[in-house]
């Protein structure tokens, strides 16, 4: 029994650890391949690709944050994009202030869009954002505070399930409307762009881009371990009990609303960090990040990767976004069909262990044309695609085998024990 559970532990953690090791390796390798490998070599990673990968990492962090509340506590937030965007806007405000008098209008104090709107002074809520430390604090506090107020009201009155989902969706929808307004003081429809410096470094330079990529990776890994700590602590089990049987948790004496609030705020802050890292790499933040469709897309990253598994959320975030980039580049009109298909298939089969079907179908839809195209055009792209497909295939296989794991961390234990104990129990009966 004892030796088996040790083996179990190794197996159980290995998937996450493997993923984290790959991420860590990428954080080291990608900069090296960018900086030290000559551009002529097919192993060279262009800076543009580094930034794209960095953005994927931010999305993965967002997916991780959502998985913490949805996968472990059963709170399906359809508004996590709002926290992501708020973190992004906080970072954007800092970056706008860093532009100083280098804007088109050359106003040392006011960002261009305010000059354009004939504003004479900085609105009060912009104060302090020229200070990097303050801005970074706001990256955490603004999403956190919104999550706290909203969560406090919602959880206190026991709004659960779809009601809560709908309210979160309305929340991000309303925020989008507000940020679209010019009078709101956040650049309206256009948002913020044309950033110059971040912490004294040029946003556009290769070194900064690599630094941002590395930072995204490190934050992702850090967040992974934080979430792992939370979910593997006793609190993790309380969260699962709230997810599976909320009233049972209450009758056991747990203050369900406190737990929900804690995990919701934590998750919102992680989402805010993801947004803040995303903005300098994307070079823009605008109200589209508040669109309900974006938030619900995040849900499907998690659903596809496997809710209730931290690494699954990360993989889901990476895979869907890679697929999205590919489709919106090659056949934009096909993307929503594919995404819609992912939504349907991954929810129908999520409980039946056929997630491999989803991934295979995506691969099938994705594989032929780009490969043919890549071979003829760009060898590097071909290699990259081949690697991605290899990862996809292996993850497909491994998802299939560990399907139960996709539902909850503990399910893995069960799968394994069942497999090993099946003969035992029969013996015991006879």
């Amino acid at each position: 029994m004892q030796h088996r559970s040790i083996l179990l532990k190794v197996l159980q953690t290995s998937h996450g650890t493997t993923l984290i090791s790959i991420l860590a390796a990428a954080i080291v390798l990608v900069p090296i391949l960018n900086l030290f490998v000559p551009e002529s070599s097919f192993l060279h990673v262009p800076t543009f690709t580094v930034t794209v990968l960095g953005k994927y990492l931010c999305y993965a962090l967002l997916a991780l944050a959502l998985d913490l509340v949805w996968g472990y506590c059963g709170i399906l937030s359809l508004g996590h994009g709002a926290f992501f965007a708020l973190g992004g806007y906080a970072m954007g405000m800092y970056l706008m202030r860093q532009i100083g008098d280098r804007g088109v209008y050359g106003n040392p104090l006011l960002p261009d869009f305010m000059v354009f709107l004939n504003w004479n002074e900085l609105p009060w809520y912009w104060y302090g954002f020229d200070n990097g430390f303050f801005a970074m604090l706001m990256v955490l506090l603004v999403p956190g505070l919104l999550a706290f107020v909203f969560g406090w009201l919602a959880f206190r009155s026991r709004v659960t399930g779809v009601y809560l989902s709908i309210m979160t969706q309305a929340l991000t929808y309303v925020l989008m409307q507000a940020f679209l307004l010019n009078d709101f003081g956040f650049g309206g429809n256009n948002g913020f762009t044309d950033f110059k410096d971040i912490f004294g470094a040029d946003v556009q330079s290769d070194a900064t881009r690599i630094a941002l990529f590395v930072a995204s990776g490190l934050f992702l890994i850090g967040a992974y371990f934080l979430c792992k700590f939370v979910t593997e602590s006793k609190m993790g089990r309380v969260l699962v009990s709230i997810r599976d049987a909320e009233s049972r948790a209450r009758f056991l004496g747990y203050r369900v609303e406190h737990y929900k609030l804690f995990v919701f705020v934590l998750s919102a802050m992680l989402a805010g960090i993801a947004g803040a890292l995303f903005v300098p790499q994307a070079g823009i933040i605008n109200p589209t990040q508040f669109e309900p469709v974006f938030s619900i897309e995040v849900v499907i990253w998690v659903a596809l990767g496997g809710r209730g598994t931290l690494y699954g959320a990360i993989i889901g975030g990476l895979v869907v976004n890679y697929t999205k980039s590919f489709y919106t580049g090659a056949m934009p009109e096909m993307w929503l069909f594919v995404l819609g298909g992912i939504f349907i298939i991954s929810t129908i089969y999520a409980n039946k262990g056929v997630i491999v079907g989803v991934i295979l179908s995506v691969i099938a839809m994705t594989i032929f044309q780009p490969l043919a195209q890549a071979i003829s055009e760009d060898f590097y792209q071909f290699i990259l695609l081949a690697v991605v497909y290899a990862v996809l295939f292996s993850s497909a296989i491994y998802f299939d085998r560990l399907y139960d794991l996709a539902k909850s961390r503990i399910a893995a234990t069960n799968w394994f024990t069942n497999l090993n104990q099946a003969p035992h129990t029969e013996e015991a009966k006879s």
Binding site: S5, V230, S233, K234, M235, R237, V238, V240, S241, D244, A245, S247, R248, R250, F251, L252, G253, Y254, R255, V256, H258, Y259, F262, K407, S408, I410, A411, T413, N414, T417, N418, Q421, A428
Partner: protein, 254 residues
């Protein structure tokens, strides 16, 4: 098993007086009064819709009564507290339908129910002490699930789930246990075992058992309250109530 909760100065551990609750005009509980002494084992029987579950809901804070008083240890007004508060005060509940955390293992379910601080920070940095570890093992042995330590609760049989939930209830160390149909879905042997277990528990706790199975109630050998249409129809020993003409008409006679 270790603590005796019944202190001499408390007259009734649970006291309901004139409690009424209606849903959309239907009176689920109608002027119900009940008095449970510290350390008492009480069985509550009654036909479907007699208001047994609603009564449990009211005691545990899930439902607020329209009127009437619900007191714990003579002077705590339970209607002012919510489920978590009431649970932490020492009223544990087992549901009619076994409600364990399906995706947690037997061990984890018991760990979750283990008496202790329920605060967010406490659980985040919680480390199991040796004594607590032993306590969980002890309870697992008591409910006969030691073999199933790492099995997920959802893979347990119905009876095993019932027992796990009873185990969770015990390890919570409440002063009052509300047990809703513990024998449901159990074999005869398991039923009798459960009765024996409950009797054992009742030596140190107050226990209220809601049950249909008359053999089980007989095995409990305790005072019986018969509910009908939301209020008490009869009260006394099983022999006494089962010879009551009214009880026979509305319940037993059928």
């Amino acid at each position: 098993m270790t603590v005796t909760n019944a202190s001499p100065e408390i007259k009734s551990i649970l006291y309901l007086n004139g409690v009424t609750k209606s849903f959309d005009g239907f009176k689920a509980i109608n002027n119900l009064s009940l008095d449970i002494a510290p350390g008492e084992l009480r069985a509550i029987i009654g036909p479907n819709g007699a208001g047994k579950s609603t009564m449990m809901d009211i005691i545990t804070g899930k439902t607020k009564p329209d009127k009437g008083e619900v007191r714990f240890k003579d002077n705590i007004d339970l209607t002012r507290h919510d489920e978590a508060d009431i649970a932490n005060m020492g009223i544990g509940r087992k549901f009619q339908k076994p409600t364990v955390i399906e995706s947690l293992s037997v061990w984890e379910n018991l760990d979750l129910a283990l008496a202790g601080n329920r605060n967010v920070w406490q659980t985040l940095f919680f480390k199991l002490k040796k004594a607590q570890h032993e306590r969980i093992d002890e309870i697992m042995t008591l409910i006969g699930l030691s073999e199933k330590r790492d099995a997920l609760a959802k893979n347990l049989s119905h009876g095993q789930k019932q027992w796990l939930e009873i185990g969770m209830l015990i390890i919570q160390e409440p002063e009052v246990l509300l047990v809703d149909e513990p024998a449901g879905g159990m074999t005869d042997y398991e039923t009798m075992e459960t009765a024996r277990l409950l009797k054992e528990i009742s030596e140190h706790h107050s226990v209220i058992v809601v049950e249909h199975d008359m053999d089980f109630v007989r095995a409990l050998d305790c005072r019986v309250t018969v509910l009908h249409e939301g209020s008490v129809l009869a009260e006394g020993s099983l022999d006494k109530v089962s010879s009551n003409q009214q009880v026979i008409e509305v319940y037993l006679g059928r």
